[in-house]
């Protein structure tokens, strides 16, 4: 009997990614037919670049969901890190207004300290979830509020946007030389490439799947589950922290209600990309396709109805339909 090996057969993850890419194409064509001026190169570029921040978050969220765990703290971490970076960087004693006075740290030091703040939130998540085995949804909903709360206290519920050095606004607004593509988008693309390699090619990636497929068996097979989950939560928080700094730089402001609801967007694109909510299955590339679907739908809704009030409803319906289609396709393939 001929024994078949991996060569020539697509994995279920690749199948779902491809399936969702086709769904994306169909939605894009429908949108092009219905929405005037939608079928344009600039629109397409915007579709990819507008959602860079949710895609960066999606990387951490996807890895964690593959292990069967949630990270709902990422939106809060963005807000907190952005506010912290601004606060550390603002000149000390610059003005009478309290919100205009920061700590006056050098730019580099301010960023490093802000990222350490993000890592601290990731560390809290890891301690309770990986070490004490508390349900991840509870802990990360808690740290979501804690992180945003810290941002609100420091900004007194508003924002800090004065007495910042010019260098603070550079990285978030700069474009890749010779193009109109922002540095932030480039960073997103780089992170996605690294994530795909880690996921597909490394032992670390493989262990991530093992934990999600069967945590008990993973432990009995020698996987250091606690340590692995700790790394993942720290990475997810770090990615959110980087996003927070990029967004704060783009607007040259630390805003306490920045990124509200992004944790849900990150979760939705991960699920749209085919990652199983119970773990053991999923891919970062799928998440990117999921982000594009969400991006097309959001843009088309705006273009079509002109009223942003409809966005949530349309987003919800399409997400629902897309996930149903995906489960159906996967079940058919497995049967």
């Amino acid at each position: 009997m001929k024994i078949r090996t991996a060569k020539g057969k697509m994995s279920n993850e690749s199948f779902i990614t491809l399936f969702m890419a086709i769904v994306l194409l169909v939605i894009f064509m429908i949108a092009s037919l219905l929405v005037p001026n939608f079928f344009k190169l600039q629109t397409m570029v915007n579709l990819v670049t507008n959602f860079w921040f949710v895609i960066i978050l999606g990387i951490g969220v996807t890895f964690l969901l593959i292990t069967g765990n949630f990270d709902m703290s990422v939106g809060g971490v963005i807000a907190m890190t952005g506010v912290l970076a601004v606060y550390f960087c603002q000149a000390a004693n610059a003005s009478k207004s309290e919100l205009a006075n920061g700590l006056g740290f050098p730019y580099g030091a301010a960023l490093v300290l802000a990222l350490l703040g993000a890592l601290a939130i990731g560390g809290v998540n890891a301690f309770f979830i990986a070490k004490l085995k508390v349900a991840s949804i509870i802990i990360t909903l808690g740290t979501m509020s804690v992180a945003r709360g810290i941002g609100q206290v420091i900004t007194q519920g508003a924002q800090r946007n004065t007495s910042l050095p010019d260098v603070f606004g550079v990285v978030g607004n700069a474009a890749v030389p010779g193009t109109s593509i922002k540095i932030s988008v480039l960073i997103m693309v780089l992170l996605v490439v690294i994530a795909v390699i880690v996921e597909k090619k490394t032992v670390f990636g493989r262990r991530t799947y093992l934990i999600g497929a069967n945590m008990q068996a993973a432990r009995l097979s020698g996987v250091k589950v606690t340590r692995h989950l700790t790394y993942l939560y720290l990475t997810s928080a770090l990615l959110a922290g980087i996003t927070g700094i990029l967004l704060a730089s783009e607007y040259k402001a630390g805003v306490s209600n920045r990124a509200t609801g992004y944790e849900f967007d990150a979760l939705v694109i991960t699920l749209l990309g085919g990652t199983n909510i119970n773990g053991g299955f999923g891919s970062v590339l799928g998440t990117v396709v999921g982000a594009l679907i969400l991006s097309v739908v959001t843009s088309a809704a705006t273009g079509l109805l002109l009223s942003p009030d409809w966005q949530f409803l349309i987003k919800g319906i399409v997400t629902f339909l897309a996930i149903l289609a995906q489960r159906f396709a996967l079940d058919r393939r497995k049967a």
Partner: protein, 493 residues
């Protein structure tokens, strides 16, 4: 005295196995009827048919003279057969009274109503065990008292029969005494008890009648008063099983590889033993004797007091350290502990030794495929390819995947917990072949099993476990006395 239950020519087939084979016997009303047999004798399947958990293949069951057939446990209960499972069926967060009336509350417009029914049930509980207060939370009760709550519920709902599956496995001596008093008092309450236990002494203490089953067949039903001694029961349980003749090894290594000293934890009591290179050591005991707990402790999954030396070095209790030192475990439950069933064979085989297929943390997929193919070939795993999901393999082939994982880890000591549970005869003998070959290669093997033929056929040394301690250590050979072994593991001296 009339019969409450009559079983006639009962048959149950599973794919490849006849679990219950033409069984007929009667159970007299208001008696305690004991059911004994080795693991795999067909007791559990018989009970599952009675409780409606599985459907029979053929035969007849008469309850109170009428044809009886239950579709599910609730149906069985309504028809008069309640069961006290080992996994108790009480809700910890509710009070005793709420538990007793669960599922049969009287309501008006959806609101609960206090009725005479509740009073009646509570009075039954009171007559059985006055120390349990109806308003008490069940979570505060001991296992034994929870059992009594379940018994009270069964009595109050006028069950004809209560089936008790090893009720004494998890309770203390004094509680057992109290439970026995209650079971005896059930006769006056018009209840028949079917009592299943591995502890033979309990049968003499409690039973009116005993039925012995073996290999799915009914062997004997007789009054306990007519059974002269426990050896008679043991003989009926094991029959004239012919064991394959054990082949002693020609030369034995004297090189010590494992030393376990004074291992003690929640289940184990001061366990010490040693294993030499290439030796196959069997641990035999019944359910609850501590086999799995010992396997898990050596592998570092569960905590313990005491000391384990492997290759002369102290072992730190953690599975990843055990694997690194050269130990691998085939766990008791292959689906929940051994395999990643949603992943492919390729995703399973290399997981215990990723270093072999990777460099600097990057996986070499060619090596990975080659290694998987090698083990598919070596252990003759029946599959269409490396990319087959493990959940789609048969039990025997799944177990071979678990073995592949452990062999790939290049371990010098393999711990096998129930290595052939739930797999067919052909796959079983293949697995025995693998175990023997590994021993020839110089690997040491610890086998934990509740199947005596398995232990007697392949092990060089045999340790008998009862209630968490080692009761005897036997050198295997032609003079091995199986009756004596059963005598010891059922609690005899």
């Amino acid at each position: 005295m009339d019969n409450v239950l009559e079983i006639r020519n009962l048959v149950k087939d599973y794919p490849g196995v006849r679990a219950v084979n033409d069984v007929s016997f009667d159970i007299k009303r208001n008696t305690v009827h004991c059911l004994v047999g080795e693991n795999g004798a067909g007791k559990s399947t018989l009970i599952k048919i009675l409780t409606g958990a599985v459907a029979r293949t053929g035969g007849k069951i008469l309850l109170n003279g009428q044809e009886y057939c239950a579709g599910n446990p609730k149906d069985a209960k309504n028809k008069g057969i309640s069961t006290l499972f080992q996994e108790l069926n009480v809700v910890d967060q509710l009070t005793v009274e709420e538990n007793l009336t669960l599922g049969m509350e009287d309501t008006t417009f959806g609101f609960l109503k206090k009725t005479d029914k509740i009073k009646k049930i509570v009075s039954v509980l009171n007559s059985l065990e006055p120390s349990i207060h109806p308003k008490q939370l069940v979570s505060a009760l001991s296992v034994a008292k929870k059992q009594i709550v379940e018994i009270a519920k069964a009595v109050a709902t006028e069950s004809d029969i209560i089936i008790m599956d090893e009720p004494t496995a998890a309770i203390s001596e004094s509680e057992i005494k109290r439970l026995f008093d209650i079971i005896r008092s059930l006769r006056e309450k018009n209840v028949t008890v079917i009592y299943i236990s591995h502890r033979l002494d309990e049968i003499f203490e409690l039973g009116d009648t005993v039925t012995v089953m073996r290999d799915g067949r009914h062997i004997e039903t007789k009054p306990v008063s007519q059974v002269k001694e426990r050896t008679e029961l043991i003989r009926m349980m094991i029959g004239k099983t012919v064991f394959e003749i054990y082949q002693p090894k020609e030369k034995r290594s004297e090189e010590k590889i494992l030393e376990v000293r004074h291992l003690t934890n929640h289940k184990l009591k001061d366990i010490s033993f040693e294993a030499n290179k290439g030796e196959i050591i069997g641990f035999y005991g019944l359910v609850g004797a501590g086999k799995t707990e010992l396997a898990r402790a050596i592998y570092g999954v569960d905590e313990y007091k005491g000391e384990i030396l492997f290759k002369g070095k102290k072992l730190h209790p953690s599975p990843d350290k055990a694997i690194a030192a050269g130990i691998a475990l085939v766990p008791e439950e292959r689906r929940s502990q051994g395999l990643f069933t949603i992943l492919t064979i390729r995703g399973n085989v290399p997981v215990m030794n990723m270093k072999k297929i990777s460099k600097n943390g990057f996986i070499n997929s060619a090596k990975e495929r080659k290694a998987t193919l090698e083990y598919i070939d070596k252990l003759r795993i029946a599959t269409s390819g490396t990319e087959k999901e493990v959940s789609k393999l048969s039990g025997g082939n799944q177990q071979k995947v678990v073995f592949s994982k452990c062999l790939f880890a290049d371990a010098d000591l393999l711990i096998l917990d129930e290595p052939t549970r739930g797999i067919d005869v052909g796959a079983k003998s293949e697995i025995y072949g693998i175990i023997r070959a590994l021993s020839e290669e110089g690997k040491s093997i610890l086998i934990f099993s509740s199947e005596l033929p398995e232990i007697v056929n392949i092990c060089d040394q045999i340790y008998l476990l009862y209630d968490g301690s080692i009761k005897a250590n036997l050198q295997n050979g032609c003079d091995i006395n199986t009756e004596m072994i059963i005598h010891i593991v059922t609690g005899g001296e």
